[in-house]
Subunit: 439 residues, 2 copies
């Protein structure tokens, strides 16, 4: 018996985990630079909270726990809204970040993970586009610091989509269904969306709807055309005004060149109420995929029992992001945070080797020491297999001389140095906590 | 409707989350210094894997998911064992750490969390006490770096307990039940353990058993007495030899003074096979509680389909640890990682204030900028409520002069400085990633 993992879950072996640690460290650092405070909510929530406004598709994907009273969160937003609803005296704006996992029971053929990493930054309590501009600025900065440049930020507004749906004759009761169908355009194509609309009794409206949402391009240039598309409908104009303001603010932040109005962008969750966005990375051969998304959810906190509270947020999909960075060659080649393997040249110096390791640790140098009483050659082979950059070979002679024999594992070179030189040679920046790596 | 959280779960608001971030950063740093590599396993595991060797009590506490095929992990050890079983070619020793959550359906009256944080360090592939000494050394170093000194490391061995149980006439089929009963001695007292033993048909053996396990004290001094307690039984002597070796190694590492043999220590999980340990912090008024535990589980990886593989590990209970640190006054007083609130003195300088904030962020200074078009006094009040240490007040005059007006929020003092002076004044070390805080 070799027990498998649950379908759609992953183990991260060290070589992979170190990449996640690097990415999470960078994201955490950027979120903190932007003044977001970490706040955590549980993985388990009441099913009634999870179901409040996610929409039928995501609702079907919730992992139910304990006979259906509880569920695993499907994103990090609903828990935040519930927390804010329960703590109405939190100073506003409440800017929080949270980097953790969420769960969705995706179909096996979708190829998507059922347990996945998300990194969210939200601004609660601000209705103006300043908040949307800020969370997007943080997301853009994350990607830039990770070395990605070729990406676009697609934006749209549920208000605009509402107006278009109305103009196209979609009944208000069916508009969320229509948005969920539109949201799949990248996956299933125009034809697929049309079919889904038809299956939901919106066949008549489909053609008009699909034409109206085909508008794409730089926001400030397209605003007039978009105003026509919403036919002067008040809510739609409001949405466009907000998108225009966002574009102006993006200039201050320095990412206006990344913004793209895309009226076909809908986002799959029912809780969105205004501006929505998605960050898509483009590779050499075209699109590498969506690595972040989000938008405004002004009604959710009130729906969960809090006072009326505007809110907006962005969510980075870390699994996809790590994948994209890998393909773009932007991840450090580091395989371990350990810098030095302290090897004992013979059995009689094992105690001394341990003491040297403890001295290195006291100096902040991550190191490993042999725990298996192996011969020197086996110790070095292990250090090499693990990708540890240096081996410090502790022998009787070096101990007597007070010197240190350091082997550069990649180059295969050995040098005999003193303690200070040793420390400067093995110094490297860790991969955790946002520091960049030496790889 | 104000939706509650599931019972036994917690929200960590920023003031609390920043404490966790500080503790997790320190623990992560120590684990990496000791050469442990991070590796992650999913929260969801097959129920059959979770149940393999946890014992009836923990089995009842598993949160079942998806109609009982899956469950949420109750600790971080079983997932590690499953991962190693599935990856038999991992270089050994495999030293991994993992800091994440686990779930147990505790009784409401227990006061324990149902969703809780653990930080584990394990050595897989080493049967000698060197591995136990290493994981304990890492745990001890974590506590020391967090400022705790008054703690003891209780150790015992399942082999010793096996021998004692045999001597006392406990049938082999009942020994695990006896150990689980004994493990509760701190919670229910000797009388309580005796009752539980009686209820499990071990009433006759209870008296003898309780007397035998009453031995407590420094290992090296008690070894002879302990040898008598196991009555020359081979397995028991082996366990004592391992504990003796551990005590000698602890001298090299420098924590021998913390070690205490306690024959009543059993640990509640069925997968332990040899040395077990628990770290108990003592406060001024006595014991503050157990903050770490662990031991050897040499059979678990094979049971889960891998090759026979010895393994040992320690697990820090982070929720308890944060609680203990709080009561001991050892947590930084910092309430946010944000260093500066960039305030606009008037509406016409809001764009400039944002640019200054972006400049500070580029220099690595976490800062927040007003997103709500508030008046200056409201901006400062908010910065104060959030516990942000500095406010940078951007006004027309300072912009013209190229100077910066910095307010120390705690002291209420303002100074006009240049850019370099500003940077050095607001510099503070973040709370994430193991850096110590300024509090």
């Amino acid at each position: 018996m070799r027990p498998p993992r649950p379908r759609g879950t992953r183990d991260l072996l060290p070589e992979e985990a170190v990449k996640y640690s690097y990415v999470i460290g960078k994201v955490r650092q950027v979120f903190e630079l932007f003044g977001f405070d970490e706040a955590q909510t549980p993985a388990l929530e009441l099913l009634s909270v999870l179901k409040a406004k996610c929409g039928e598709e995501v609702e079907r994907q919730i992992f139910k726990v304990e006979g259906g009273e509880l569920g695993l969160r499907f994103d990090l937003t609903v828990g935040l809204a519930r927390m804010v609803a329960s703590n109405p005296t939190l100073p506003k704006p409440f800017k929080r970040y949270f980097i953790s996992k969420a769960w969705r029971h995706e179909e096996p053929q979708s190829g998507r993970l059922r347990e996945f990493w998300q990194a969210d930054a939200d601004v609660v309590g601000v209705s103006s586009p300043q908040a949307d501009a800020e969370v997007l600025a943080a997301a853009v900065e994350c990607l830039k610091r990770l070395g990605l440049e070729g990406f676009v930020v697609k934006v749209n507004s549920r208000k605009v989509l509402d107006a278009i749906a109305k103009l196209c004759g979609v009944p208000a009761s069916k508009s969320l269904e229509a948005f969920r169908a539109i949201d799949k355009v990248d996956k299933v194509g125009l034809r697929g969306v049309e079919e889904e609309l038809r299956s939901r009794g919106l066949g008549e409206q489909a053609g008009k709807l699909l034409e109206a949402i085909s508008l794409k391009g730089p926001i400030l240039k397209l605003l007039d055309e978009a105003r026509e598309a919403v036919g002067g409908e008040k809510l739609g104009l409001e949405g466009l005004e907000e998108l225009g303001a966002l574009a102006k603010l993006a200039e201050h932040y320095g990412y206006a060149d990344k913004l793209l109005l895309d009226l076909s962008l809908a986002r799959g969750l029912d809780y969105y109420t205004g501006t929505v966005f998605e960050v898509v990375v483009q590779g050499e051969g075209g699109k590498l995929g969506s690595v972040a998304g989000g938008g405004r959810y002004d009604g959710l906190i009130e729906l969960l029992g809090g006072p009326p509270t505007p809110a907006t947020g962005v969510s980075l999909g870390l699994d996809r992001l790590v994948e994209v960075l890998k393909r773009a060659g932007k991840l450090p080649s580091l395989r371990t945070a350990t810098r030095v393997f302290v090897a004992a040249a013979s059995d009689d110096v094992r105690g001394e080797a341990l003491k040297v390791a403890m001295k290195l640790r006291a100096e902040g140098v991550p190191c490993e020491v042999d725990l298996m009483s192996r011969r020197l050659d086996r110790q070095l082979k292990y250090a090499d297999a693990k990708g540890i950059p240096f081996a410090l070979i502790v022998g009787r002679r070096e101990l007597e001389e007070g010197t240190y024999r350091l082997r550069d594992m990649a180059k295969g070179e050995e040098r005999v140095v003193d303690w200070d030189r040793l420390l400067s040679m093995v110094a490297g920046r860790g991969v955790s906590g946002g520091a960049s790596s030496g790889g």
